[in-house]
Subunit: 275 residues, 2 copies
């Protein structure tokens, strides 16, 4: 094998690390990949750490000990996150996206690969330290952002369904009261999807009354799984009192009247982003 | 600003390019980012192209002309793709994952961030040249792989629903006959989700009779959108004649009897991967 130069090693190393985020790679992995010595690889990592920091591309962390090594985290600084979310709020505010009944159209935002990737990185940044074992979402609209959050955290995504499907095998079903409609609905999750004692981060697209979120917490209780956090893309300003608390949303939505027969959406960054 | 060294520039450049795949960055973007001359940036790109190729990390392409620049594509070589899919087939084959009724449990695979990312890159590799404007999927299980495919292709994801929702606004509904159950079902898509004359790549998790896929084609016809391709994670061996043709699947599923009262799943890479 030809000798690999440092600039080649660094770029291939960062690509490899960032493709599998929050996952520890041993130094040996890279020594073998490039045919270089441990001391050289350590120096490479030091340089990479500075590059990533100075260009705001996330974070390179080294983990010491027997199971040690190096990993990449797609962390987003609070100021960057705020700026990004402010841009989204601007895009979503106004009268264009308000639908009859006071709903906001933002399905396009929720399934955009680049936007959900950024939102996932922002949410993951808040939950690295809580070390969730998986991300849980309830079908359908929250799936993309839940997937990108799970990717950034280096954990699997688990999707609860509205009813149990034959191709999911034996399942745990719970009933919950939908916050918006007041109707009783069913939430279902395959038994083999998760294990007792795991730690769960709930990620979903929309929080209004909190009925669905409360249902997800109840569902996790049935599996003896601890919910370590709840994150949402959008939270409504009212009702102020929701059935859950302690959640982090990215944006707050208020629909206000705007002249005769018209409504306007006011979307603002969530308070925790402004501190 | 301190002078940025080549090894720093290259890693930051590759990270930036690969975070937004199949998107043309002008040379000026990087000249400004690093405070370097155009000639230097061109040399950087040449080195990066070789690095990416020699470590099988995808492809760096330069585009000439007024709208020219450089872009990253997460292309996967056929031999690599085959090897990866063979690994998945091994994991899915056997008796463990067969559910009553002859269904295969693979929801965990379909929502794993790393696996869906790889599957998305493999599928995108087949459709770069067809230049789709968006990826269409039908809720729910195909959403993660459709998202990763869309990300690799640098286009939005559009999700069709089982019924029109109030928060999606005016919608186009079509009825289709589900291949597996023979029941008539409804498929719905918000009018504002796509525009007339666009090109669509359909990506979904499962193909059996082809009823749902046929429904998606009909839905696109209503929007005057051309379907340029159809890709699936899993296709069943029977029925051999499906309602659609020309699709690419990653794996083929056969459920066979395996002694008394037991069934076994035989999952194999799709034929096109073996050529």
């Amino acid at each position: 094998m030809e000798k690999v130069r440092r600039n080649e090693r660094l770029s291939a190393m960062l690509k490899t690390l960032s493709d599998t985020p929050n996952h520890i790679f041993t130094l040996s992995t890279f020594c073998e990949m490039f045919g270089s010595a441990k001391s050289t690889t350590s120096e490479d990592i030091d340089i990479l750490r500075d590059v990533v920091t100075s260009f705001d591309l996330g974070e390179i962390a080294t983990v010491t000990g027997a199971a040690g090594g190096v990993m990449y985290r797609a962390t987003v600084r609070k100021s960057q996150a705020r700026q990004y979310i402010e841009g989204l709020c601007k895009q979503l505010s106004g009268t264009d996206r308000v639908l009859p009944g006071g709903f906001l159209y933002y399905s396009d935002i929720l399934s955009d690969p680049l936007i959900t990737r950024k939102m996932g990185a922002i949410l993951a940044t808040e939950y690295f330290d809580d070390e969730p074992d998986f991300v849980l979402t309830m079908e359908t609209k929250g799936i993309p952002v839940a997937l990108t959050t799970a990717h950034a955290l280096g954990v699997p995504l688990v999707i609860a369904r509205h009813s149990s499907k034959v191709y999911e095998g034996s399942a745990v079903n719970i009933n919950y009261v939908s916050g918006s409609s007041g109707n009783i609905q069913t939430m279902s999750l395959a038994r083999r999807a998760i294990s007792k004692g795991q730690r769960c981060l709930i990620v979903d697209d929309f929080l209004k009354g909190g009925g669905t979120a409360k249902g997800m917490i109840d569902l996790m209780r049935e599996f003896n799984v601890e919910v370590i956090g709840m994150a949402f893309v959008m939270s409504t300003k009212t009702p102020v009192r929701k059935r859950i608390s302690g959640e982090k949303s990215l944006m707050t939505l208020e629909i206000a009247s705007h002249g005769d027969d018209q409504e306007i959406a006011k979307v603002t960054p969530a308070p925790w982003l402004l501190t």
